[in-house]
């Protein structure tokens, strides 16, 4: 498969037009909504910086409008780039033979190449977003009309005949429709029907009565814990609650009326009632009671196919698989943001220092020396204990301390290139500084970054996970691998949390490292070195 510039231009243009159309229609379609998300994040960063600088004004009053303007600008940029590829670019890529050789070599290193393809696959999966993982239904067919909640703005529950105006809870809607069995209505949920953040559903299980002993459905051991019956007319209100030991009633019993006031209490020993008192003079016994016995499964809950928590839930009841997915998206976003900022800073500052030398270099180096003595980790800890930083702000803070490394590499590379004969030759031919810098030096120094970047990626993922692990990272409503790890290591009783987070983290880091190794080897000037 070869992706010619023309094909790339067409693909980009198609994507941009699709995005524009969806944004115009107010829909958030996975993959096509990336400019919208980018606009929102950029807005957040801008506003946070503006607040930090003490800016006040009317323009900060409307973040939504600002974000949409930003995303339209981004879309326009994409269109320009795609038009460039379509109209101005040569029909084939014109890599120099050396680069082509390097790319070929990269492709021939199997392990790295496969890892690279898997990583791309992961990015693609992450882009599918709530098509795969989410609390909103994909399609709802209600009274002959189709709804697509996962792309549309919030649909209030009243649309589907539910008694509330807040967002529809699609899982319960599905359950309700399934119970009604009334013809044509149906709900299609994503494969993982839980949101990656702010979605901690209650899990209630109906218990089985096997000749007087209570069991969880399908379980071999009798039930231990608390279970309750509910009012058939008001399923949210428990009627009576018992404690069970080995499937028999044991300990306290409490009973309520439909208004939620306690009306009775009792005590059981091995299934037999040993004490009972009624606070309402015998009226409690007349209250209606549902036949079923339910129990609440408290978080964290072990993996369960029945409840579609494939990897269980975390301590607050959120789905672990959904959090992993959210964490993956988070990591990808963070990596891109981090790389763009640090590499840009590194190229600009390092390039300037290396090319112009003299005072600029001297001053820049002293600045770097001072800057690099600052204990980065502590500063991040202090900052995030004072304010609760949003994701982008946190990454920006990390970037502030991470541009030093790439800058020094870039400086050295530029220094070296500038003294080469070909630069002198171009200068003799009358090329200006800009042309020398961008046309000649930059392409020749970029190899430094190509080999450096794969090793910067694990750095940022680990830094972020580490901060989260310590509790100084992302806001608590964001999904994060670090927090899952922390929850897991604090609770070894729930191995599914820590093992999921650990596996995810290790898997991605290993892939990235494989790619890094392969890139390094491919770009190695000493061609016949073997890498072990």
């Amino acid at each position: 498969m070869s992706l010619s510039p023309r094909k790339l231009g067409v693909a980009l243009l198609g994507w941009a037009l699709g995005s524009a159309a969806f944004q115009w229609a107010g829909l958030r379609v996975p993959f096509f909504k990336l400019p919208q998300l980018a606009g929102e994040e950029l807005t957040e960063v801008t506003f946070a910086l503006a607040r930090l600088c003490g800016a006040k004004g009317t323009w900060t009053a409307n973040p939504v409008g600002f974000a949409s303007v930003v995303s339209w600008i981004l879309l326009a940029l994409v269109v320009v780039v795609s038009l460039y590829f379509l109209l101005r670019h040569a029909p084939e890529w014109q890599f120099n033979p050396l680069t082509r050789k390097k790319m070929h070599r990269f492709r021939s290193i199997r392990r790295g190449y496969v890892a690279w393809m898997i990583l791309l696959g992961l990015v693609f999966v992450a882009c599918l977003d709530n098509l795969l993982v989410g609390k909103r239904a994909l399609v709802v067919n209600y009274n002959g009309k189709y709804y697509f909640p996962f792309v549309s703005p919030l649909i209030p529950g009243s649309t589907f005949g539910l008694p509330y105006d807040s967002e529809t809870e699609y899982r319960s809607l599905k359950k309700k429709i399934a119970e009604e069995k009334s013809g044509s209505n149906w709900v299609l949920m994503p494969p993982v029907p839980y949101g990656a953040h702010l979605d901690a559903p209650e899990v209630v299980e109906e218990l089985e009565d096997r000749s007087g002993v209570i069991y969880r459905p399908g379980a071999a051991q009798p039930f231990d814990g608390r279970a309750y019956s509910v009012f058939p007319s008001k399923p949210s209100q428990p009627r009576q609650e018992w404690t069970y030991r080995k499937g028999l009633r044991q300990g306290d019993m409490r009973g309520w009326n439909s208004a939620g006031e306690q009306v009775e209490k009792g005590k059981f020993e091995e299934g037999k009632q040993v004490a009972y008192s009624d606070f309402t003079d015998g009226k409690a016994a007349e209250l209606e009671a549902g036949a079923g016995l339910q129990t609440q499964l408290f978080p964290p809950m072990a993996p369960s196919l029945q409840h579609r928590h494939y990897l269980g839930t975390n301590t607050s009841g959120g789905d672990v698989l959904a959090s992993l997915f959210g964490g993956l998206q988070q990591s990808i976003y963070v990596v891109i943001f981090y790389l763009v900022v640090t590499v840009t800073l590194g190229v600009v500052v390092g390039g300037l220092m290396g090319f112009f030398g003299g005072w600029i270099d001297l001053f820049g180096q002293r600045l770097i020396e001072i800057w690099s003595t600052m204990p980065f980790f502590f500063i991040v800890l202090i900052v995030s204990s004072v304010i609760q930083p949003q994701t982008s702000i946190l990454v920006l803070i990390i970037c502030l301390f991470s541009w030093v490394g790439p800058t020094l590499y870039m400086r050295t590379a530029t220094y070296r290139e500038r003294e080469r004969d070909y630069v002198a030759a171009t200068r003799l031919l009358g090329a200006g500084t800009g042309r020398i810098l961008f046309k000649h030096i930059l392409p020749n120094t970029i190899a430094v970054f190509v080999t450096l970047v794969p090793f910067m990626v694990p750095d940022i993922i680990i830094a972020l996970a580490g901060l989260d692990f310590l509790g100084f990272g992302l806001p608590p409503d964001q999904p994060s691998w670090g927090r899952l790890l922390q929850e897991g290591t604090e609770n070894f009783n729930y191995p599914w949390i820590v093992s999921s987070a650990f596996c995810a983290l290790v898997f991605v880091l290993v892939l990235v490292t494989f790619v890094g190794e392969a890139v390094r080897e491919a770009f190695d000037p000493k061609k016949f070195t073997t890498y072990q």
Partner: protein, 638 residues
């Protein structure tokens, strides 16, 4: 040559060492404030008075609480080391001033120190502390004490009447850098009078229903505070005051950053006295620094710690499924106690719009689903607090009820406040396009964030967006002190005997009116709701000085209703019990503990049974089981 070099290095380092030691001495030159203290006492003749025994009123009725039952169990055995843990090493051993109000202060000071009288923790009444007996004047404003003649500090120095005079010198001094004490000792005391070496009296300015709560004082050993001067916080940072209590920290008990060990005072003056003799039993109390609760639990499981508080469901349910508990090596207890509850709840800052709007506040009240928090995060064990004044017995208005989570009611109030539409994300907006979004600040501790997440998820159903800001405790309190928060999830440990309104709801602690008429926020007070109500203020002032229990109750009930009507303090959850696990060799009296205990250890009625310890360890080695033991003490359950 080489040897010479080594000697040189050694000499140099010795010189350095000598130099640095001298440098430390230079920081705190010896100081003697004896004359200064005397001059201070003389400068306030109305406050510090010296009289003769002949001046004592003759009609005094001396009391000594002798008819009250003994606290502690005669079966208690002395000896052993009790292993416990603290989450961080104390920042200072001072008991006032900067950083002194840490959690460890109660372990070495508040729970240990013996003051003049002590509250009986099982029945309603007072029993002797440093004072053998006491008498209350007919006007109930002056309390006379007779000091126990044998009372000494842990270093053997006798406790003298002047030591109580000294307390005022310290507590009124700006050098302690602790305005709360300055204010309290200036406002709540009127005079202290010495009659003879063992008799003195304390006078309080206002009538109180029970003056003994207020006229009690800790003594300040003058020989220890001799160097008290303007560098007090730094000079006394690591000096431990001799105590009148049973435990002292000796120099070899301090391993900085790692552990603190309290040692039982040899020949403690109160060791054979009633109410003391069967308490304070272990010889040593060792507090290891363990920063992580789960690590501490594992150490507890291994037997490195003797005791673990298991109030969180995680420990009580999930982590309790272990062989040590099945086999009865570790036993568990659940004790229903009677103590004012921590006022845990969400407080709304009325000075931050839109929280100045009553309808918004009412809406927020109905938008917080504490029921679900209790049901899921706490597994239904605690109760919803009825009000933030719960647990004060007759002073708690029984009519108070929390506003339950109710989407319809919340929506009604939000609509009234102008937030009528819902945005694309489900959050309400008003006509000006402002989102109904509030920031909830809370400590980044234990299950708090998880709770906030659940509240946030539920609040979204009503169209309220909660921004959750989990902060380090120091940062959080700084933020609250500056009143920069919008909503905060915090709790203060309530102090018996009466609810305190002045600190939390009086306008003095909210706004300061400048000479030019503008208002300025008063920082560093507990009025985090920024309540400033001209109707409430006079009532609060009256409540502060209410002379009788009836009057106190009446005013408390009215004020509690007014606070609830403002919808500024949303009660959270409360547990009328504490649950704990302990190795089998730690023993408590048959009744479990004392009625008014806040935690299992703070009454010091437990002891260590070395025989049982041996037996248990042997059984553990042999794999023998004693059977699971869970003790429930619900005799004080209401």
């Amino acid at each position: 040559m080489r040897k010479a070099l080594w000697w040189g290095v050694l000499a140099a380092s010795l010189a350095m060492g000598g130099f640095s030691a001298r440098a430390e001495d230079d920081r705190f030159p010896p100081y003697d404030n004896t004359e200064e203290v005397k001059a201070f006492w003389k400068s306030k003749p109305d406050f510090f008075q010296w009289k003769t025994p002949a001046d004592l009123p003759s009609d005094l009725k001396w009391e000594n609480g002798g008819d009250l039952p003994e606290m502690g169990d005669p079966a208690a055995k002395k000896g052993g080391t009790f292993h416990d843990y603290i989450e961080s090493f104390p920042a200072t051993f001072r008991v006032n001033g900067p950083d002194a109000n840490g959690t460890f202060r109660s372990e070495h000071h508040d729970n240990i120190l013996i003051t003049l009288v002590q509250r009986h923790l099982n029945v309603d009444g007072w029993v002797p502390g440093l004072a053998d007996e006491w008498a209350i004047s007919p006007d109930k404003k002056t309390i006379y004490y007779r000091l126990c003649p044998t009372a000494t500090y842990s270093d053997g120095t006798p406790v003298e009447v002047e030591d109580f005079f000294m307390t005022f010198f310290i507590m009124l001094s700006p050098h302690i850098q602790d305005p709360w004490y300055n204010d309290f000792y200036a406002k709540e005391f009127k005079a202290i009078t010495k009659y003879d070496d063992h008799t003195f009296s304390i006078t309080i300015p206002n009538l109180k229903p029970d003056p003994l709560w207020y006229a009690d004082l800790p003594p300040s050993p003058r020989h220890f505070y001799k160097e008290f001067t303007d560098d007090y916080p730094a000079r006394y940072q690591w000096r431990k005051s001799p105590t009148t209590g049973a435990y002292d920290i000796l120099p070899d008990g301090i391993k900085k950053g790692r552990s603190v060990t309290l040692t039982r005072v040899k020949n403690w003056w109160a060791k054979d006295r009633k109410n003391f003799r069967y308490r304070f039993n272990p010889d040593f109390l060792e507090y290891k620094v363990v920063a992580n609760m789960d690590k501490a639990f594992e150490m507890f499981r291994q037997g490195q710690l003797d005791f673990y508080i298991m109030s969180l469901p995680r420990y009580w349910y999930d982590k309790a499924e272990i062989p040590e508990i099945y086999n009865g090596y570790i036993e568990r207890g659940l004790f229903y106690s009677v103590y004012p509850r921590i006022t845990r709840g969400i407080y709304l800052n009325q000075s931050k719009p839109p929280l100045d709007n009553l309808d918004v506040r009412l809406g927020v009240n109905h938008a917080l689903n504490f029921k679900k928090v209790i049901e899921i995060d706490f597994r239904g064990d605690p109760n919803r607090m009825k009000s933030t004044f719960a647990g004060f017995g007759r002073y708690t208005n029984p009519a108070l009820k929390p506003r339950e989570f109710d989407v319809a009611k919340a929506e009604e109030h939000f609509n009234k406040a102008g937030y009528t539409k819902r945005g694309p994300d489900g959050v309400r907006v008003n006509d000006k396009g402002q989102r109904l979004s509030l920031t909830l600040s809370l400590p980044n501790l234990g299950p708090m964030v998880q709770i906030a997440m659940r509240l946030k998820q539920e609040a979204l159903k009503t169209g309220l967006d909660l921004g959750v800001e989990a902060l380090d405790t120091t940062q959080l309190y700084k933020k609250l002190d500056q009143k920069n928060h919008e909503m905060c999830l915090v709790g203060w440990s309530a102090q018996p005997p009466y609810p305190r309104f002045w600190e939390y709801y009086h306008s003095d602690n909210a706004w300061k009116v400048q000479p030019d008429g503008t208002k300025k926020v008063v920082p560093d007070t507990n009025n985090v709701t920024m309540t400033a109500d001209p109707v409430m203020d006079p009532l609060i002032d009256q409540q502060r000085v209410a002379p009788t229990e009836e009057e106190m109750q009446r005013l408390c009930w009215i004020l509690e209703e007014m606070v609830e009507a403002k919808a500024v303090s949303i009660p959270g959850w409360e547990s009328p019990w504490y649950r704990y696990g302990h190795w089998r060799w730690v023993r408590w009296p048959k009744d479990g503990n004392l009625k008014n205990s806040q935690l299992p250890l703070d009454t010091y009625v437990h002891w260590i049974d070395e025989d049982v310890k041996k037996e248990t360890l042997e059984a553990k080695r042999a794999g023998k089981s004693f059977g699971e033991t869970l003790r429930v003490f619900d005799q004080y359950k209401d």
